[in-house]
Symmetry: C2
Subunit: 121 residues, 2 copies
């Protein structure tokens, strides 16, 4: 796999897409229909559930967007990359690292870990 | 999963075990019989193959051992941790981060990434 960076960017673009219909298109094009996503806060299976989960995160952080941190790394069908979630142009309060298994060019499963979360107020 | 650190340490102990029979015992106790391991350099399936792969790495680096870096992190059946491979008491030239899926308390699959490798001489 030579395009770990492109795969990771495609993933970030999905998480930043606020139009549900366009998210569905991206999911259809780049995620397996039985794809699974899991992180410490949520789990989702299939395009509809994953889109709903992303929409929920966007509603919770209406002024935040996702961006890649550093370079994505990949080999075979495996990709890892780190991301930040925060307001544009400011230091991001939330950071994480995701691990993706890609099959036939489509995301099959993604496991997300949190690297930084805001301290409770 | 509250014992990510213990799971990660069990994994490191396996990689440091130089006795093949003891490795087989550890694998039987802590890895699924159909467990899979993959990293950018090698892939192995099942206890015998995984033990052989570990033995090969040990032969290649006879004076090196593995150690955990920092704290392991986990949720649900997922664990991630970083490790160093190097001579005892000296800075380790090789570092990586592994992601494990654990089922019923046993390693089911491990995907390893390399964070630092020595530059070619």
């Amino acid at each position: 796999m030579t395009d770990a960076q492109a795969i990771a960017q495609r993933y970030i673009d999905l998480w930043n897409e606020r139009d549900g219909a366009r998210r569905a298109d991206i999911l259809a094009a780049t995620w397996s229909s039985d794809a699974r996503y899991t992180d410490p806060l949520a789990t989702a299976s299939g395009h509809a559930d994953i889109s709903k989960l992303i929409g929920g995160v966007q509603q919770r952080f209406p002024k935040f967007s996702f961006a890649l941190i550093g370079k994505a790394d990949g080999f075979g069908d495996h990709v890892r990359f780190s991301w930040a979630l925060g307001p544009k142009g400011a230091d991001a309060p939330i950071k994480g690292t995701d691990f993706a298994f890609v099959e036939g060019g489509k995301f099959k499963s993604v496991t997300g870990f949190l690297d930084q979360v805001p301290q409770a107020a």
